[in-house]
Subunit: 113 residues, 2 copies
Amino acid sequence: MPSLTLRLYLDPKGRLGPGKVELLEQIAATGSISAAARAMEMSYKRAWDLVEEMKDMFGKPLVAAKTGGKHGGGAELTPVGEEVVRRFRDMERAVHEAAAPYVKALQDEADAR
Amino acid sequence: MPSLTLRLYLDPKGRLGPGKVELLEQIAATGSISAAARAMEMSYKRAWDLVEEMKDMFGKPLVAAKTGGKHGGGAELTPVGEEVVRRFRDMERAVHEAAAPYVKALQDEADAR
DNA sequence: GAGTGTTGTATCCGTATGAATATAACGAAT
DNA sequence: ATTCGTTATATTCATACGGATACAACACTC
């Protein structure tokens, strides 16, 4: 089954695609950057770099992290972070709907072998 | 000004995105793989690799190349190649339209800094 | 037949990317 | 005070990817 992915290039610079968005969702779900990284089988460094990138892209942090505490710390999405996830997923839904016939036509082209 | 790019994952495997599509257009415009590569400032090897990938993706060649001749040879798109370009660009148009409000909202989020 | 510019292909190499590793700071719980 | 798991950060290392390079085959023109 074919699929379509979107990559958004924000104005001065910075790309937002499925990877960063899924990372945000995993952070929200697990409550920590490192747990999200484990869930996505990427290094903590990479996850942290992506979070930093997003902070630069949007000028505000999308993730609020705390060090120390009962379980050593943790992270959660800021309101902006939640907003970004929601909007990106909404956009994906709208786009997949609009693109469906074209995707099918191209996949058929590939099947006709 | 923000922009949105699409990447299509065809069924067994193979990605089709803006790079390969632009390459096809440049081949059509210039009449050769190597001229297209120069126009896009990529190595001939890379261009040729991409053309091969697309042949594997679609089971049929999207580019017909000839060696020898007055100018040493040349290449043009097959009917399938032209079809793929056309459909991809059509899809992009439809998608950009559907995504516009979401793109704007996300860009505004980034501007509010 | 020589010259030409391209296709098609193989080999080598530099670099950039991310993985791995190490470590300090942190703050709550015990 | 000690323990704990996380954040935050720097440094080193390996590998994969593309770039550069080289060259044979080709067929048309002159």
